[in-house]
Symmetry: C2
């Protein structure tokens, strides 16, 4: 058990980095037992080595000079938990170039430059481990690469952003307005001061690009994922959806269709009794449908210091244990080994829709609405029209409609026609209703 | 890509075996691509080689002679999907002795003889892969071994038997009697003609023994797991529990306490809004609480031909790909490398309880019940007493009580005292209420 230590260089010592240092420290004996050798952090690259970080690591190991890290011959694994694409991307390249394995939590970097980096690692005979880049502490990528690899994956549906799920859960359970739920998320530490990356769906799109490349065996980047966020959502729609038995979720969707792959992030209604609908607060989950295994779901904390550190350290153990580098070398399942794939935009996909219109409460209006939908080839599944608050005719009242399956293209033309009706005020709200596959 | 084939010997060709043959056949090109070499089933050991199995495999490969399988020098991996402990255990030993890796779905064998078999594999320089032994298609074991391995696992709670969960879901959602729900499960193919192994909790206990050994790093067998089943359950209790906001589940529980490990399978009430409570029908799930990752849950089909074949074939790919044997050799996380552990019986564990008594509807009875509980040091959390159907005094009426935390020992003595009261008819029903950890 007294083998020589496995030496690690750490890039970044922010929230996640401190979690990694803490975990390696407190679990040192257990990890040494599991690996047969201790793990030692010998260098930490940070902007300000003198800052007080309150970690159990001697200050002499901190440096702001990349050369000190990269020239340390003891280091065999470089762990990148700094985030960022340009400067940090160069550090990751240098780590690989110098023959070090890389463990990274950097979803932006991998979603944009994954293929190049994996290919570089392969040329240098080293590996990249990246469990923490998607789904925080949930071992989603391990499941896709090593647990479900006998399957042809047909679709994935993920709740991959805890900030958005926290906000949507608040809106659903307390009828909160979007702005108030966002403020609560910020107060609870689940949302940044500038929440754009999260609430726009861009963060989930990056994670979906990584997940899709493993699930479907294709080469894609975050540019291949269309995304809408939750920032434009009206709490009325969350409420009316709930009345109809649906829960609003920001879903990262990957679906194999005959014409190609659909990759998108969008707010969707799902049936309240679906497993994904039960994922509350800041929790994340990924549902995977495989042709043999059917429906599987992986659930847990998608962010946070210790859940993310859990995945980073798990990667460190697996790389240090030697089996992950072997899997990287032997199994042809990695992003650089995949081909580009045909992508189809959402306009060709058939789905059901939720529509909310503000319509004049006057005779004949329902006929005109149904007519506009019918002209686009869309048939109605249900209509919910409440009486106008004052009970007077001639007021605008909300009309909530669910449709049968229609293409997004047909729906767009129907929405355009509806918006032009004199009896319909403003642009109708249109949200897809996702029927998850049987499985 | 045209490397020489990886040759497999299959033991058993029942439901799961046929699923394995089917999957290897239909996915042949994809697997060859992923591995760099094709997988070939060269021999199948069965009782009756002449039987018509409707599988895409030449009948000449079937044999009832073990020597034909074991003497075939091409075979490097033996896949055991026959089930059974004695005869099949000897086949598995012979496979390992002869230097073949083993892939097995055999939970009974591993729960009873795991340590011996893993140790034999290690001496022979081969490995055992066993994902399909627990949780069917859900990659639970991969998650514990390679995804959550940075954690000190504190507890696991599993719905590990689809038959029981199907029956309990029916009882919960349709108020069905146990007998009727069992008949439905049998009609739907989710329960055997003799359902004892499932409904007694013995099947879940075997799976828990395997899961606990990996989760807690201890050496245990199914004899270390106490188990109760669902066969004695009264649908009245499912109904009253639901009234109180609970869902009845048969849970496989592994908890680390100060004095040792608790390992048990028992029907429990869980809060209706817990993720585990939402696991319906024949689905399985395992909740794992790790000290760093918090709560994670893994969900999917716990049985069935193709979900189980999915895990078996995944194991085949991982063994054939060379990384799993390396992980088996290098990581010290396997059942034969663990030490026995202190086990504590349920009598010392504090939990909340649901109690149902049939009590005489007469003055003073509630006082006597509360007195008996108080004498055992147990305090009441809630009481539900409905009026007697005829509204007459002197009849027996159900009284449903929930308690605050108490030890099982205290509760046993209170139940004894309650049963002796003249005003209480028959033995009170007592079911633990499980407060899952925060996580």
């Amino acid at each position: 058990v007294a083998n020589s230590p496995i030496c690690i260089g750490l890039i970044g010592c922010g929230t996640v980095g401190r979690g990694v240092v803490k975990l390696l420290h407190e679990m040192r004996d257990a990890y040494t037992q599991r690996l047969g050798a201790p793990i030692e952090i010998v260098k930490v690259l940070v902007r300000d080595p003198a800052a007080n970080r309150d970690v159990p690591l001697d200050r002499s190991r901190f440096t702001s000079n990349p050369d000190e890290l990269f020239n340390d011959e003891r280091i065999s694994i470089i762990v990148e938990v700094a985030g960022g694409v340009d400067r940090i991307g160069d550090h990751v390249r240098r780590a690989l170039e110098s023959g070090r394995h890389v463990v990274t939590a950097n979803k932006s970097l991998l979603a944009k430059h994954g293929v190049e980096l994996f290919s570089l690692a392969r040329r240098k005979g080293v590996c990249i481990a990246f469990e923490a880049s998607c789904g925080g502490g949930i071992p989603i990528l391990a499941a896709l690469k090593f647990g479900l690899n006998a399957n042809r994956i047909q679709s994935v549906y993920g709740i991959l952003n805890g900030t958005c799920n926290f906000i949507l859960t608040e809106m659903t359970e307390t009828d909160a307005l979007y702005e108030d739920a966002l403020a609560d998320a910020q107060a609870a530490g689940f949302a940044e001061a500038d929440p754009t990356l999260d609430v726009s769906g861009a963060d989930a799109a990056q994670k979906l690009a990584i997940i899709a490349s493993l699930a479907f065996g294709v080469s894609v980047t975050d540019k291949d994922v269309t995304h809408e966020g939750i920032d434009g959502l009206d709490s009325d729609d969350v409420y009316y959806g709930a009345e109809l038995g649906y829960v609003m979720k920001l879903l990262a969707i990957g679906e194999k269709h005959a014409g190609g792959l659909v990759l998108r992030v969008a707010p969707c209604f799902v049936y309240a009794d679906e497993a994904l609908a039960q994922v509350r607060g800041s929790f994340n989950a990924l549902s995977v449908f495989g042709h043999a295994v059917g429906h599987t779901m992986f659930y847990g904390h998608g962010a946070g210091q210790m859940p993310t550190a859990s995945s980073v350290v798990s990667d460190i153990l697996n790389v240090a244990g030697g089996w992950y580098p072997q899997a990287f070398e032997r199994m042809r399942i990695w992003p650089d080994q995949h081909q580009p794939t045909a992508l189809i935009g959402p306009e060709g996909v058939r789905t059901r829709y939720y529509l909310r219109l503000e319509a004049l409460d006057e005779p004949g209006v329902m006929g005109r609405i149904a007519g506009a939908l019918g002209a686009a080839g869309i048939s109605l599944a249900s209509i919910l029209q409440t009486e106008s608050p004052e009970g007077e005719a001639g007021e605008h009242v909300p009309v909530v409609i669910t449709t049968h399956h229609a293409t997004e293209k047909a729906m767009a033309s129907a929405v355009k026609a509806l918006a032009k009706l004199d009896s319909v005020a403003a642009e109708p709200v249109c949200i897809r209703i996702l029927d998850l596959p049987e499985g």
